[in-house]
């Protein structure tokens, strides 16, 4: 096995191995567990750094392993894979730190961190999957590994949320599997390729391919929370805050959106998908989701539920960008994959901080929280402005490219959707900010767990991660045009993706 084959496997192993060891650890070995977690997260970052440098220089990283005759597990760390891998690896580190602080003193932590590591492993597998079979293997693994996290608290409410989650995701998985096996029968065991591999089949298969596309998108749409398949996401809110961060920013919804990217660009090929009339319906579905999610978010008083509906809306920006025919839309979609992750994880960290520190779960209870927790609220504010799309934050860059992409693709109605969505974003975020900063508190907090001490508003492990991710949301916007920014990397991918078929 050469080094270029071993590296993708090492990326997987850097979270799988610590996870398996953690399962076996007794509950009381806190230090060892923490050390393993951090070691895994840091080792993964180093490996990802090596891969990034290599891919930028044009190296190929891949590994193949035959499972059955004609069926292979294929890993491929290309530029697109690394976009997702880097995002997840970075956010994993911060979520782990946050979770260590968040779960301090609570039971079943070995189980929690074990499954947590499995989740990240599954996400890495999804990102680096080199064909649909591999993608599906890790896609389902992700479902299985997240279920114990969603029901972690063991309350009846958590069990209900978890059951709904399973019903949706396993159902979606079944549709996806049908579509994937169908394609396997039609086109054999083909790897993801720039420009897709299905256009060679010939016009006789157009009808079947359209049907398969519907199956695949429906299967992926469950995790990507496309309306009307989004019902599980707000209900999964019963999970602990680090798990919500994982579901919304690092792993689950991203896995769905990332799958859509791979299917459109590297299975069908964007040009072929356009010629089959598949992109416009996809754009419409995404637009509906964007508007509907925002409207529902307006009416939620529970903070995490409002954020959940906001995710429904924001993740579909990625799908929308994919459906816009042209490189600018692609850039918008890919860069939003990263930007949404950074901003949404900040918001969930902050929501967790309010709940853990003050017992505040509802928007209507947040009056004056800005004065009590200024740093958390500052991070929240930056992320919320980013979501609305205020320049120079990260969200603005995404929306800018999506708008340009819409014009390039000749779909000006998308601009109206973007504008409406930005207005709605403002309508559900600004009232929160108003309450945070401009209303004053009368009376005690609902349940103050962590008193303010020595200038620190809450425990340092809870405070640091949202500050860092909020700073990243700011930096990704401000420094978007510098090299090694997410935007720069998205451009690199778009270049490679479109080179292969542009005349």
């Amino acid at each position: 096995m050469t080094l270029n084959e071993a590296l993708p496997l090492a990326v997987l192993a850097s979270s799988l191995a610590p996870g398996l060891i953690i399962f076996a650890l007794p509950e009381s070995r806190i230090r060892l567990r923490t050390a393993l977690n951090l070691f895994g997260a840091l080792a993964k970052l180093v490996l990802v750094g090596v891969l990034l440098a290599g891919v930028a220089a044009g190296e190929d990283y891949g590994f193949r392993h035959a499972v059955l005759p004609g069926l292979e597990l294929v890993f491929k760390a290309d530029a697109l894979a690394l976009l997702f891998v880097t995002l997840s690896a970075l956010l994993w580190l911060f979520t782990t730190l946050y979770a260590i602080g968040y779960l301090e003193g609570s039971p079943h932590r070995s189980r929690f961190f074990g499954f947590f590591s499995l989740c990240v492993t599954a996400t890495m597998g999804i990102a680096m999957a080199g064909n649909l079979f591999t993608f599906f293997v890790f896609y389902e693994l992700l479902t299985l590994a997240t279920f114990p996290l969603v029901v972690h608290r063991g309350t009846p409410q958590a069990m209900r949320g978890g059951t709904v989650y399973l019903a949706y995701t396993l159902g979606g998985g079944a549709l996806l599997l049908t579509g994937i096996v169908w394609l396997h029968g039609l086109a054999g065991s083909a790897d993801f390729a720039h420009g897709g591999y299905l256009s060679a089949l010939g016009p006789d298969y157009d009808g079947q391919l359209q049907l398969v596309f519907l199956l695949l998108i429906a299967g992926l749409g469950v995790k990507a929370a496309l309306v009307p398949l989004h019902g599980w996401l707000p209900r999964a809110m019963v999970a602990p805050a680090p798990v919500s961060a994982l579901l919304h920013a690092v792993a689950v919804v991203k896995a769905g959106a990332f799958g859509v990217v791979r299917i459109v660009y590297e299975v069908y090929g964007v040009e072929f998908a356009q010629s089959l009339d598949l992109l416009t319906p996809l754009a419409v579905a995404a637009a509906v989701t964007i508007v509907w999610g925002s409207i529902r978010a307006l009416f939620q008083d529970d903070l995490k539920k409002r954020l959940a509906f906001s995710t429904v809306s924001q993740v579909s920006y990625i799908v929308l960008g994919v459906a816009l025919f042209g490189p600018l839309g692609t850039i918008g979609a890919l860069v939003h994959l990263v930007h949404q992750g950074v901003m949404k994880i900040t918001l969930f960290f902050c929501a967790g901080n309010y709940a853990e520190t003050l017992g505040v779960h509802k928007v209507s209870e947040m009056d004056g929280a800005g004065r009590r927790m200024p740093w958390t609220s500052a991070a929240f504010t930056v992320a919320a402005f980013g979501m609305i799309g205020v320049p120079p934050l990260a969200g603005f860059v995404s929306k800018w490219y999506l708008g340009l992409g819409a014009l390039e693709a000749g779909m000006p109605w998308v601009l109206a959707v973007l504008a409406a969505s930005s207005l709605l974003n403002a309508a559900y975020f600004l009232p929160i900010l108003h309450r945070l900063w401009f209303r004053s508190r009368d009376g005690a907090w609902p349940e103050e767990h962590i008193p303010a001490r020595g200038g620190l508003e809450t425990s340092p492990l809870l405070l640091a991660p949202p500050l860092v991710t909020a700073a990243a949301a700011l930096a990704f916007g401000l420094l978007a045009s510098s090299c090694a920014s997410p935007l720069d990397w998205a451009r690199l991918i778009a270049d490679r993706e479109y080179l292969s078929w542009s005349p």
Partner: protein, 476 residues
């Protein structure tokens, strides 16, 4: 002397007798030691078949028609490997289990030995009459194992089972007699070229009788009525052996006969078998969703999972996809179901109760066992990466290449139903334990054997190339 074919049948007979004489304590050690050798023999046979193709072994040097022939090809090598690979961990498990439940142990080891000898002989038998003998041996030993517990419920279940097993063998024997009357031979090899679609009515009737008898023994819907009480009521290691292995033996026979001797006639029954399989999946899963007892849930799950095996028949075609799917499903289900019954036994021992409700909070006490149950569940649901997933993938692919959409829906729907009943158990793990619950300690060896079996069923999903190659090996 070192031909594994003969020793695979002789060795279990030897340790069965030995265990009867030595008593349970030393008998168990003897059995485990001998099973280690059997595993090596089965592996040796598999490697040889993979390298040189199938072969025939005339017992004592007397070939057919005077003596008895034993034949090993890819399919039988795979099944033999599965049988030994299941029996060894289950023997380790049983040794610890019966140390806790002393009264039933007296007859376990001898009966288990005879059962295994019968099963190995069945996978190797080369004529219809020897198949009958082995079938009878397997059936009687299995009934004995179910009854060995001695409680009223177990004896009642065993009697039901005995009736089904005897009726099944009788139907089969009737068929064999008719075949002998028509062709004057019972050797599979000699019969194969003689039977074709223009065969006389007696042969068709014979085929039907044999099929009916074997279906009764395999407990395919609607002949499943005897299975849940027998498998759900027996001691855990016995349930594991029966569900994982014994029902597969008669399925193997249906598959083997419809692949060669009765191939010209099999097409007529294929769709019916497939439909019964689909009905079994739905009905078995539905019952598993309704029952309150852990082991009954697992037993009903066997009824459902056997259905997948019968979906193979309408899809059997020269491309071999369906045969691969059947082989993979038989192995994956065997490993997973053995693990699941073993885990269920541990859970019942730990909680002292046999209901699902009693499991609340058990995760904190026997996490490894629950993990094993979950892994086995992954295989049964057909989720990746597991042997069950590969089996399902192959089945769906076979159905799609034949354009038979209905079977795809059955496979997919069955997987979702399986998820529903498996998570009925798993979700209990995350509930908080009631304050008054008490847990008994469980031997580590029982936890670990369940885990090893479950892990094997999942790891199978990462490498199936050699197994598929072996399965494709016909007689040389």
């Amino acid at each position: 002397m070192t031909d594994p074919v003969a020793w695979l049948i002789l060795l279990p007979l030897v340790w069965a007798t030995g265990a009867f004489v030595l008593g349970p304590g030393r008998g168990a050690r003897l059995a485990i030691g001998a099973l280690l050798v059997q595993c090596a023999l089965a592996l040796q046979l598999a490697v040889e078949v993979l390298a040189y193709g199938g072969r025939t072994h005339p017992v004592g040097g007397w070939g057919a028609p005077l003596g008895i022939d034993l034949a090993a090809d890819g399919l039988s090598a795979v099944m033999l490997l599965l049988a030994q690979a299941l029996a060894l961990p289950l023997a380790v498990y049983a040794r610890a289990y019966f140390a806790e439940n002393a009264p039933t142990v007296r007859y376990f080891w001898p009966l288990a030995g005879f059962l295994l000898a019968g099963i190995n002989a069945l996978f190797l038998a080369a004529d219809l009459f020897n198949l009958y003998v082995t079938l009878e041996l397997v059936g009687l030993a299995a009934v004995g194992l179910v009854a060995a517990g001695g409680t009223a419920r177990q004896v009642a279940a065993a009697l039901r089972y005995l009736f089904a097993a005897l009726a099944g063998s009788l139907l089969y024997l009737l068929g064999v007699a008719l075949i002998y009357g028509a062709y004057g031979t019972v050797s599979l090899e000699t019969l194969a070229p003689l039977v074709d679609a223009r065969a006389p009515a007696a042969v068709w009737i014979a085929g039907g009788l044999m099929l009916a008898g074997l279906m009764l023994k395999t407990a395919i819907f609607p002949f499943h009525y005897w299975l849940p009480p027998a498998h759900g009521g027996a001691p855990a290691p016995v349930s594991a052996l029966l569900s994982a292995l014994v029902v597969k033996a008669s399925f193997y026979l249906i598959l083997r006969l419809s692949l060669d001797v009765f191939a010209p006639l099999a097409a007529a029954a294929a769709t019916v078998l497939g439909l019964l399989g689909a009905a079994a999946i739905v009905w078995g899963s539905w019952q598993a969703l309704r029952t309150d007892h852990i082991k009954m849930l697992v037993a009903w799950s066997t009824v459902a999972q056997l259905g997948y095996l019968f979906l193979v028949f309408p899809l059997l075609a020269p491309d071999g996809l369906a045969l691969q799917a059947g082989g993979m499903q038989a192995i994956a289900h065997g490993l997973a179901k053995a693990a699941m019954f073993a885990a269920a036994g541990v859970l019942m021992l730990a909680t002292g109760r046999d209901t699902l409700v009693g499991l609340a909070g058990v995760a904190g006490r026997v996490p490894l066992t629950l993990f094993a149950f979950g892994l086995a569940g992954v295989t049964l649901m057909g989720l990746p990466p597991s042997g069950g997933f590969l089996a399902k993938w192959l089945l769906i692919e076979a159905a799609l290449t034949h354009g038979q959409w209905g079977w795809v829906a059955v496979v997919i729907g069955g997987g979702l139903l399986a998820a529903a009943y498996v998570f009925r158990v798993l979700r209990q793990a995350f509930l908080l334990a009631p304050a008054d619950s008490r847990f008994h300690p469980v031997p580590r060896s029982m936890e670990w054997t369940a885990f090893v079996l479950a892990a094997a069923s999942v790891l199978l999903g990462l490498r199936g190339v050699e197994l598929m190659a072996l399965l494709a090996r016909g007689a040389a």
